[in-house]
Symmetry: C2
Subunit: 719 residues, 2 copies
């Protein structure tokens, strides 16, 4: 199906001949599609289809699809919804293999629409016909000027380039194509996918990742229809080293409601998406404004080699503001020192020592000799990117005009990226034809920004992405070890169990996959309890074992820090009495005798099933971090060592593991290993593992490992 | 001094006659100031001063200030730095009372500059001459067209209005005046304050708050020279109900370095500023872009009466994105229901039930009948503000042209604010003279935005500000109760103490101000300890009392949960032994016998001295909340009940007080009272109280109060 999807997308984006079914001067799309194909001089054969016309807008028209003298690569369908199925049938009979259905009024509209869409899907699937839409706004191959949507005032002249844009919203495809144009971003394709009854956003993203003419893929997403497919797309992007920039709805519940009422997509658990985005270096942007400002920095061919940024500013005030934001966003501003400083101080026209900090406040005078200021900085390895901050009108005379050509020149010849943040008047209203320096830079491909926070966040995203690709190794793909022995052990456990496992069996199960657990045993008599305790060594903890009592603390089913046999006797009896009191009908399997662990930092690990992604691994620090701050990270298996490290470091409470409140650094290495083992376990057990919680895992100080103190697994009955 | 500052600002902003000292065709400012005053037809007398000229740019010039035939209201000084002091002397001798010193090269430049500036300050102070600058870029009274700076291409036509803008950066004053113009914001004054050797940003803000022609005050601040003055300004803004919007540097350490290297201001502790901003409803914006987008919503004369927003969108995709962001930012989107829904459903041209959620996706068709869609929504009290989201080119034909006049009309006549978020192409390049719908709305004063997050954050800020002013009562100014008895008690405690007080005395001190503490007493013998314990009732806690041992736990100087006399005996001896071992030379005053408190949520309260604001009150939840997340709130006394409530609610851990992990809701009312008592205490003891920590205060469940379990106060020796 995938390769056929790719072929279909190829036909849809590069049709050599198109049948426009429902062409008509009288309707918006019926007229528009023909108009745009004509206007941009579509080089292939164009066949308007209309039962009542022999000619439309000067082009020979056909009464039906079947009357077309050749097999068109693509049908664009604009007929009323009730005629769509029949039209499709005619297309299939004529040998047409792909279509764009623009017609709306399907799943998104009402029950009848859903019924019609289901019919269409069934028919198309049966006949291997592929569809983009329905309820979409068409698409365009900007590279080849094949425009199959209404660009209207956006596109009388196309801005060609290598940025692909896919949108689940037709209106936003058109609106954002205009925004991209405003920002000087050249596009390769723009695609709206509508209801995605067949081809979905990921099919187009995949095509673009493989397309040599597309170097960046951007998308507006309300919800992925097939998250598994999105995972493939994300992996492909990693391999191809092409950035994906996503504007994705679904951060909050409010958004989810609106999104699902719009396209009927189930927007998946957003935190899981964020985990996957981290894992695959996908850049998520905040809004429509940021999307193409972020794209600017990724479009620029040069990548920063390190993480130091140098800021040159024309205004001290703008410099201190920018530095402030850099601190907030986490951008490093190394000092100018040594030979670089000496060289700069030697320049005539530059100011005193004091102003050559970072930001370096070189004022207007310094900006005029940028060609002399920049080269020493280019030689200095500390600085991987130079940001020039200008604080004056972009339509100004004087300084602005003088420095813009220099910046363009330097940006072209320099090894390192040079970006510009320009705060000042932009409109040239009342100034005649005077061209804005901002626009001149943009036209020349120099990334230039007007909003400081967006600019700096984009730079940070670029640096993160570049660092990720530097550290991430293509070869480090994860292969699952042979886990037959683990599986056998789990089978053994499951012979006696089904569904929710008790604490001891849950621990045995994770132990089968190499995760360290407490020394322990289940006793069914006081005598046995004592003998287990002696084997383990005092102090021990006792816990009631019963599938019906999950809240062990609440039920009084726990006794901690038992120091000797006498204490054990009392505690053993008390626990059983309290447990029976708490739940009269509970089936009590015995009492767990467990070594007592007092030290260690408590973390939480788990495997849960995301409705969209299947198994996902969660990590967090125990207690209120998880409960109140939702301070957890997610990853989708397989999880590499690199992923596991990121997963641990990205939570806010990471500092706790590094040691605080008098505690030594925790054994982070053991957490990394356990996460990777959980990943193997999740992949090995697949659907059979419904859910697993290790809460808590006690992590001891560096070099001393970790142990699961409690665990709860829910399994299908057999594996 | 303040009233004289106000007079000086009056002379500076509204001069009837101006001496421009250093006027010259040959220098940027020497020429520019005259040029702009002339261009905008300054109505008063203009006296260029230049020792070598009788006429400059067609205006009679004077060889010296003294030669001017009248006493000018204002001198603008542009001479070289070495001549500035002499020039000032001449001004004073001529009776001129205020000047703007544009000349740079003072404190910000080098040691010599600092020396010169100090001389100027001393001379001006002695002679009651007031100065704006030096090292400033001038200023302009836009209302009266008195332009005393180089507006260059920004201002050949001024956009007059009621927004005042003060900037510590001259370059940003000019650059942002251009940005304001781009956003259609009318300005009353723009002021750059430079080195603030005399008049500072707060003097100008204060003037503008009292100026009937200014309704909003905006500012770019690197650091306040006089925070106390800023507090006055903030209080005045509250009384005048005029919004202050600040772009303030200093959020991060990086920014601080840059800021202090620039103007030499000490940027105060930023968290304290944030507390004060909250307390006084001051709006802090993120960057230069946001400053005037936020100003747009405050410039609009109508205020939302509640917190419900209705979103009308032309595109489902844009609607779901916006809803998502609303969830994130905390904007409420109530449903359309009942009569309002019925009325809308009755409209011809509107779509089905499903799309009338909130966001209501009314598409292009619905936008065309906005005049019918809006009125039912205006009648519905649930909605206090309507946001229209448009997702298409702003220079488009068709829909855009049709709806813009309707929106302008509705925004004028409606009771409730109507704002527009417009995502789409903005430049009209290649489209001839076609005017952008965006600009048309802007010109008509309808707040219109292109960046969704900025738009929604601005709306949220407006709603917060309006709510604050609704709840905040002018009359609720806080008067300090008579605290003579408290003070006497503290004097008693201080007779025996100085500097750091021990735990018991610290607690006695807060108890003197009405803050509840544990029942306790200091014993100097075992016998006494027993008798105190019996009075209090077991269980008790024992703690070593010694000024030299502040880490009581570490030193082993604590024993908890002592159940009877026997246990007390053992614990008493152990504590003393361990304490002596821990610190051989410690002076041990005795052992504190304290009632044992086990339950309650632990919070931290404190009074610290901010280097800029003096005493500030801190509140936070105990433990890692404070240590790791810095999850604390600050306020500057006096603290009203309203402030205290906000202070408690704004921390992230607030939920802990509402009850979680099986705990009941905490007695928040008692925290409110204690915060207010701390405020009284801080104001009453002033500088004498160096520092106070109540850590922890145990807050019991609702209705059961709170008790300080431990406290540490540092005092000056006497009060």
């Amino acid at each position: 199906m995938t390769s056929s999807a790719n072929q279909a997308v190829q036909s849809i984006l590069h049709p050599r001949s198109i049948a426009v079914i429902g062409a008509s001067e009288k309707t918006l799309y019926g007229r528009g599609i023909i108009e745009y194909l004509k206007y941009f001089k579509f080089g292939g054969n164009l066949f308007p289809v209309n039962p009542n016309r022999d000619e439309i807008m000067g082009i020979k028209a056909y009464r039906s699809v079947k009357a077309i003298p050749e097999i068109a690569d693509l049908a664009i369908i604009i007929v009323e919804r009730k005629y769509v199925l029949n039209t499709l049938k005619e297309c299939v009979e004529s040998g047409i293999k792909a279509s764009i259905i623009i017609t709306a009024g399907f799943r998104e509209a009402d029950v009848e629409g859903k019924r019609l869409e289901d019919q269409i899907v069934a028919f198309a699937r049966e006949n291997e016909h592929r569809i983009c839409g329905p309820n979409c706004a068409g698409l365009a191959n900007i590279q080849d000027s094949t425009v199959m949507c209404l660009l209207r005032e956006e596109g009388r002249e196309l801005t060609r380039g290598s940025v692909g844009f896919v949108s689940q919203s037709g209106a936003l495809m058109m609106a954002l194509a205009g925004v991209a144009r405003d920002r000087g971003i050249g596009l390769s394709y723009i695609v709206s996918t509508g209801n995605e009854c067949d081809l979905e956003v990921c099919d187009f993203m995949k095509y673009m990742l493989e397309d040599p003419g597309t170097s960046i893929v951007t998308a507006f997403i309300e919800g992925f229809k097939g998250p598994a497919k999105f995972k493939e797309v994300a992996d492909l992007a990693l391999l191809k080293k092409k950035p994906i920039l996503l504007l994705k709805v679904g951060k909050t519940e409010l958004g989810k409601t609106a999104a699902s009422s719009h396209t009927g997509h189930l927007t998946g658990s957003d935190v899981v998406y964020d985990g996957l985005f981290q894992q695959k270096a996908i850049i998520r942007v905040a809004d429509t404004y940021d999307l193409f400002d972020f794209t600017k920095v990724f479009s620029y061919p040069k990548r920063p080699k390190g993480d130091g940024v140098l800021i040159l500013t024309s205004s001290g005030g703008l410099g201190s503001l920018t530095a402030d934001l850099c601190g907030d966003i986490g951008i490093k501003l190394p000092k100018i020192e040594g030979a670089t400083l000496d060289e700069l101080l030697g320049l005539k026209g530059l100011l005193t020592f004091d102003s050559l900090g970072n930001p370096a406040d070189i004022r207007g005078q310094g900006m005029k000799i940028l060609d002399k200021v920049i080269p020493p900085l280019m030689k200095d390895d500390k600085f991987s990117l130079i940001l020039i901050c200008l604080g004056f009108s972009t339509v100004g005379t004087g300084v602005a005009q003088e420095i813009v050509p220099t910046i363009i020149d330097l940006a072209k010849t320099s090894e390192k990226p040079i970006f510009v943040l320009w705060v000042g008047r932009r409109s040239n209203q009342g100034l005649g034809d005077r061209e804005s320096g901002f626009d001149l830079l943009q036209k020349s491909g120099v990334p230039v920004f007007e909003k400081p926070t967006t600019c700096l966040r984009a730079i940070k995203a670029l640096m993160n992405w570049t660092r990720f690709h530097g550290e991430w190794k293509e070869g480090s793909t994860i292969s699952l070890p042979d886990l037959e022995i683990s599986r056998q052990k789990v089978r053994g456990i499951l012979e006696m169990n089904s569904g929710k496992l008790d604490e001891h069996d849950s621990k045995r199960m994770i132990a089968a996959y190499g995760i360290p657990i407490t020394r322990e045993g289940v006793a069914t008599s006081m005598k046995e309890a004592k003998s287990i305790a002696e084997e383990i060594g005092y102090p021990v903890a006792l816990k009631v074992v019963s599938e019906q009592i999950s809240h062990k603390t609440e039920s009084g089913g726990i006794a901690l820090n038992i120091l000797n046999g006498n204490e054990l006797e009392t505690a053993y009896q008390e626990i059983l009495e309290r447990a029976k009191k708490y739940n009269l009908t509970a089936n009590i399997k015995g009492v767990l005798v467990q070594e007592m662990i007092k030290d260690g930092t408590e973390v939480i690990l788990g495997i849960s099933r995301d409705p969209q992604f299947g198994p996902v691994i969660m990590f967090g620090i125990g207690g209120i971090f998880v409960e109140l701050f939702k301070d957890v990270s997610f990853r989708v298996p397989p999880i590499s060592r690199f992923d596991a490290i990121e997963m641990i470091q990205e939570i806010k409470g990471y500092q706790v593991l590094l040691g605080m409140r008098g505690k030594k650094k925790a054994d982070i290495e053991s957490i990394i290993e356990i996460i990777m083992k959980l990943s193997n376990m999740a992949l090995d057990l697949r659907d059979n593992l419904v859910e697993l919680d290790i809460n808590p895992l006690a992590v001891f100080e560096e070099g001393r490992g970790a142990k699961a103190l409690d665990a709860l697994a829910v399994m299908k009955s057999s594996i």
